[in-house]
Amino acid sequence: MMTRGCCGNCGHFAAGPHSLESQVAGLKILSSAFGSIRDETGLCRMRDFFCMPDHHCPDWQERRTADTRGCAAPGAPGGA
């Protein structure tokens, strides 16, 4: 389970494929955020760098529910 402090349930973490493809323009020209090579790589919107759900840092912020900010669990379709 994801616990407090993991990037995977941090409010700054964006790992949904749509989100990644929109935040890195041109990503889907010769690649895809829906592919298995990406695994669960996501983007930390606070530090603007790539990390994995099991990474963590002191700036962890509680994620609001999907209903309030469009977030979903990492890797879920359309998740932030």
Partner: protein, 458 residues
């Protein structure tokens, strides 16, 4: 470095089995193997349904529009069914992955109709004379439309370059004897190993030591040039904590150089009069992305009159040889970042499982398709295989693969809007470009001079 384990926290739940229906690699496997199995069942029952479904105007050799119109008039029903099958399969699976179905279907109508036009151009009796190879025409038409016409954003959800090419690669497995993989695989992996190491070290050391770029950027660019472009860059971005701008830089450099090489390598190969297998291996050694490489290899194969061999050599070099390095590089860079570079406060300990997690899973489908068809056909003698099995089973699967590749090549062009690409630093440009030069020259030496006889006899 702190890890979840060291803090006594439970690890996050990985995507696990959900990947089986949320990742396009797995859908490419399910669909590709489904086509192969259904095709075999239909063949055993004497059905010609697969052959009817695999219609396209590419082999018409039409000389006037009347002939072309007659073809579409007499095959309208087949094209309608074909469109419905493609749209249903891609639409439903894309929707399951989270893509808006309505938007996908609108875009797919556009892609399908353009693809019909591309095949029609390729079916013109004088197409070869003017180098109007469908892959090249599709790419150029897509690029022109994307950069001159304000296309609706609604279409974009159907421009799934990677999904189309992955399905094409799985279908390719059905026409790829497993014995060829077994005999040629070691040569391809050996050549790929040399290229992967040489190109990666060239880009990284030139970038960081000579041009002074950030080492995370150096790492991202090195695998982008050495393995499989943006996908490889993204795979190791989390391993080294790369910034978003680093991936942007990789996207720009990979896309620009990949496009240049799609347009240049086939014509240089033609000028050098390279055998199709040799050119395919060279393209597989020098191109970065599978989709771009298939466009170049397919184009040259048509120019040389032996597309199958060109694509086979490319597949051996690129898909079986170089792509398998992704997980290894990801693990290596993660180890370097966490043990040699400064302590990463967000890092987690890398493990050997990284190699499997980053493995391009669709390659499994390629191998399984190859094994299934090789096993199925081994009971037939050469004559029956050539006169009965191939026309009724393998050729239609090959034709369906041709469709997915054209969807892919069109999508590359339609997705590439040059104004959206990021301006990159001089150091990154020079490091990557010199890596490309080394890659192309070393690829030529290996494919033409050292293993030339081998690739020519493929």
């Amino acid at each position: 470095m702190t890890t979840n384990a060291s803090q006594g926290q439970a690890a996050p739940v990985p995507m696990g089995l959900k990947a089986l229906w949320l990742r396009e690699d797995w859908w490419a496997i399910w669909i590709g193997l489904g086509v192969v199995v259904v095709g075999i069942i239909l063949f055993l029952n004497g059905s010609t349904a697969l052959k009817l479904l695999a219609v396209n105007p590419g082999g018409l050799k039409w000389a006037n529009f009347g002939q072309l119109a007659d073809h579409f008039a007499s095959n309208a029903g087949r094209y309608a069914v074909q469109f419905l099958v493609f749209a249903s399969i891609f639409g439903v699976t894309s929707a399951i992955m989270g893509i808006n179905l309505r938007r996908f279907l609108v875009g797919f109508v556009f892609i399908y109709l353009l693809s019909v036009c591309m095949f029609a151009v390729g079916g013109w009796v004088n197409a070869a004379k003017y180098n109007l190879e469908p892959p090249l025409v599709a790419l150029v038409v897509g690029l022109v439309l994307a950069n001159t016409v304000p296309l609706s954003k609604v279409f974009e959800d159907a421009f799934r370059v990677e999904y189309y090419v992955k399905l094409g690669i799985v279908l390719l497995g059905a026409t790829f004897p497993i014995t060829l993989v077994a005999t040629a695989g070691p040569v391809a992996i050996g050549q790929a190993t040399i290229i992967s190491l040489l190109t990666a070290f060239t880009i990284y050391f030139l970038g960081t030591r000579v041009f002074g770029i950030d080492r995370r950027l150096g790492a991202v660019l090195s695998v982008g040039g050495a393995v499989c472009g943006v996908s490889a860059s993204m795979a190791i971005a989390a391993s080294v904590g790369a910034k978003r701008e680093h991936l942007y830089t990789s996207v720009t450099l990979v896309v620009v150089w990949a496009l240049i090489m799609i347009l240049v390598l086939p014509f240089v190969s033609q000028a050098l009069q390279l055998p199709a297998g040799v050119a395919g291996a060279w393209i597989g050694t020098s191109e970065f992305a599978d989709a771009a490489g298939f466009a170049a290899a397919s184009t040259y194969g048509k120019m040389a009159g032996n597309e199958e061999v060109s694509i086979r050599a490319f597949t051996l070099m690129k898909v079986i040889g170089r792509d398998l390095w992704i997980g290894i590089w990801s693990l290596v860079w993660a180890l370097i970042a966490t043990t040699r570079w400064e302590k990463q406060e967000t890092g987690a300990a890398p493990g050997i499982g990284e190699i499997w997690r980053r493995f391009p899973k669709f390659v499994i489908g390629f191998f399984v398709a190859s094994i299934i068809v090789s096993f199925f056909t081994q009971g037939y003698d050469a004559s029956t295989l050539k006169k009965v099995v191939k026309p009724a089973l393998m050729d239609p699967i090959g034709a369906l693969r041709g469709w997915t590749f054209i969807f892919c090549f069109l999508s590359i062009g339609l997705s590439t809007r040059f104004r959206e690409l990021k301006v990159v630093s001089r150091g990154a440009f020079l490091a990557f470009s010199l890596g490309v030069v080394v890659n192309v020259i070393a690829g030529w030496l290996l494919s033409v001079r050292i293993f030339g006889d081998y690739w020519a006899g493929l």
